[in-house]
């Protein structure tokens, strides 16, 4: 059951990335280019995607986080780490730099594999290599 739920949730998530246009790095870069506000070329769509996502997710999260058990059984696996560390910020800055270079973050990069473009495949392989090497030296702890 949990595996079917995962497949359905992943599929709905993929629908959302496709319909919102976030599957296209150019759409993401159009948002990150806030310096284009001056000449009217800025695309605020990503902010609307976040707004739409939060409007739906916040009520569900606030309801779900007080539960002691998941509906399909098993524990509620919520993060307990609240520490704001240099590592958190440095990781965010490195990720944001890579995100701004190409326009892919992990979700859209994986979803875009559906198009079968070589550039997307190369990005995903490099991303997995980055994750693997960071984990190999314990940076995920």
């Amino acid at each position: 059951m949990r595996i079917i739920v995962s497949l359905i949730c992943g599929t709905i998530f993929g629908f959302g990335l496709y319909i919102s246009g976030m599957i296209d790095p150019q759409k993401v870069l159009g948002f990150l280019d806030i310096w284009a506000i001056a000449d009217g070329g800025w695309d605020p769509s990503l902010a609307f995607v976040m707004g739409g996502a939060l409007a739906v997710a916040i009520p569900i999260f606030q309801f779900a986080k007080n539960r002691t058990e998941a509906v399909c059984g098993g524990e509620m696996s919520l993060p307990t780490n609240r520490a704001i560390t240099t590592k958190l910020v440095v990781g965010g800055l490195l990720f944001g730099t890579g995100w701004g270079l190409v326009g892919y973050c992990p979700g859209p990069a994986l979803s875009a594999l559906a198009f079968g473009h070589t550039d997307t495949i190369i990005f995903v392989v490099a991303m997995i290599a980055g994750m693997g090497s960071a984990r190999a030296i314990g940076l995920n702890k």
Binding site: Y18, G21, P25, I58, V71, W99, M127
Partner: protein
């Protein structure tokens, strides 16, 4: 703002929020894509955890595949960067999300939805770096 698509952005965003909410409510897990993918590289949890992660990733790819083949809804995914930049960017995204424990989905959607200050700091960090990177590549260096 000729590229601005507020309606499809809100609908697509709503679906992303729904998927994240259902994943927590039904499976008790955070729908952070970097965490789901990264967890496959060093599996520690037993049981069906590996298959749950794989199923989510398969869904992420199958979802767009269904829409592009079975509906009239159109989308594209265009990469304009050179090969070295694609590789460096991929490495940075993989490294950064691992060090920072999350990405746009895990910190930006799930973290903010449970009002986590830690995730807000992470989100502001990667957004700031994204803005500055695009400033440098598009406006100071004239595109990469």
């Amino acid at each position: 703002m000729e590229n601005f698509t507020p309606i499809s952005a809100l609908i697509g965003g709503g679906l992303i929020g729904l998927a994240s909410g259902l994943y927590l409510l039904l499976n008790g897990r955070i729908a952070g894509i970097s965490g789901i993918l990264g967890g496959l590289l060093t599996p520690t949890k037993g049981g069906s955890a590996v298959f749950e992660r794989l199923a989510f990733i398969v869904g992420l790819i199958v979802g767009p595949f269904i829409l592009m083949n079975a509906t009239e809804i159109e989308a594209q995914s265009v990469v304009t960067s050179s090969l070295p930049v694609i590789i460096i960017a991929g490495l940075l995204v993989g490294l950064g999300t691992t060090i920072g424990s999350g990405c746009t989905s895990g910190h930006g959607i799930c973290g903010l939805s449970r009002f986590s200050l830690r995730s807000l700091v992470a989100t502001l960090s990667f957004m700031a770096a994204g803005f500055v990177t695009v400033l440098v590549t598009r406006h100071l260096m004239g595109g990469m």
